[in-house]
Assembly symmetry: C2
Homo-oligomer: 219 residues x 2
């Protein structure tokens, strides 16, 4: 059964044909990304800070890199916007006007709250395994001092929208006859493991690192 | 002569050793990126929208994808935050606590204003050539109807900061002896030209597309 995260605040006003409100489609974009841009307001000024995150069901856990400033103006919760953007390609049309970017993005609105002490280790596990699947169980266990020094925010995935653009340029009908090259520059990402210079001798790159990949766009 | 974009609003509060306020360093990050995340406030709610941009000197031109909503609450100018993030790698430490991301990011604060009609074509040229260098002169010239339908914002690069993290993980001293693989997953991007299916026959991929690249991080 499909869920709808649509609200009047998240209606995509420009190019609504590109808008998606379905939870599964939004979750797929969130699962492919690992850096989000968090927007918050302090003294009327907006701030946008990049940070890592992980998804579990209908919640995001946000690593608290920006938490000090985010939370400094609030008590227990703070209105945020969390945006995840995957850039798949550059769209080169025959006119500047129709140049575009192929992308998949999610914009979520909501109130974040601090994760309580007893749940912090779990939240860190979700974030770690979201960014590098299967990483957590290979690590030295987290200790109490680290948990005390870490702020994690919980953010509900309840109100938001996605926008998706794919495919070739859309030019004006009469421009297709022009002798101008048009098409896309598709972007692919490679991940190369580099040993820590201080690595213990004899340790091979493990499978969860060697096999690291993210799902890509449907071409 | 180096310029300083530092202000009390842009002081990096967390991990200040990673902070950079020098204009040239900030400009280099802006020039490598081509999608920014724009933060604005409407009815107390922050919004973060990805959009394309171009830099010219001490100004950014922002493509108006989000302009309708951004400008709906303002008269001629609106306080924004413009953030550009380049993700260079994932940092896999021996503990979850020291996991990190290698990145270069810029956070700029300021007021954006609409570009006036007589300057719009120039602003579009800056944006187009920022994203795909040398593209503009190959295109069908922009026409008045397109200019009328386009909103471009001008944003001053006067107040902001950059943050940079590079290199291997930094683990706790006693953790280096553990038999846990640590290192980085370095990210490289490839750009592959794909012809528009409606391309006129016989048009080869031009040099400005074939040779497309962005400067990368200093490794």
């Amino acid at each position: 059964m499909s869920e709808d995260l649509h609200s009047s605040r998240t209606t995509v006003e420009r190019l609504p044909a590109r808008a998606v409100y379905d939870f599964d489609a939004i979750a797929a974009i969130l699962d492919e990304g690992y850096v989000c841009h968090v927007g918050f307001v302090a003294n009327g000024q907006p701030y946008v800070i990049p940070t890592g995150y992980g998804r579990e069901g209908h919640e995001l856990f946000l690593h608290g890199a920006a938490a000090n400033r985010m939370l400094s103006t609030a008590k227990d919760s703070v209105p945020l916007c969390v945006t995840v953007t995957l850039v798949d390609g550059l769209v080169l049309a025959r006119s500047a006007f129709h140049h575009s970017v192929n992308y998949r993005s999610v914009v979520l609105l909501g109130e974040a709250e601090k994760v309580q002490d007893g749940e912090k280790a779990h939240a860190l596990e979700v974030i770690t395994n979201h960014i590098v699947p299967d990483r957590w169980r290979h690590l030295r266990p987290v200790n109490q001092g680290e948990l005390d020094a870490t702020i994690v925010l919980r953010f509900p995935i309840v109100e938001g929208s996605a926008k998706v653009r794919g495919g070739p340029p859309k030019d004006d009908d009469e421009d297709y006859a022009l002798p101008i090259w048009a098409g896309t520059l598709e972007i692919s990402r490679r991940y190369s493991a580099v040993n820590d210079p201080k690595l213990q001798p004899g340790l091979a790159v493990p499978e969860h690192v060697r096999g690291f990949k993210r799902p890509g766009p449907a071409r």
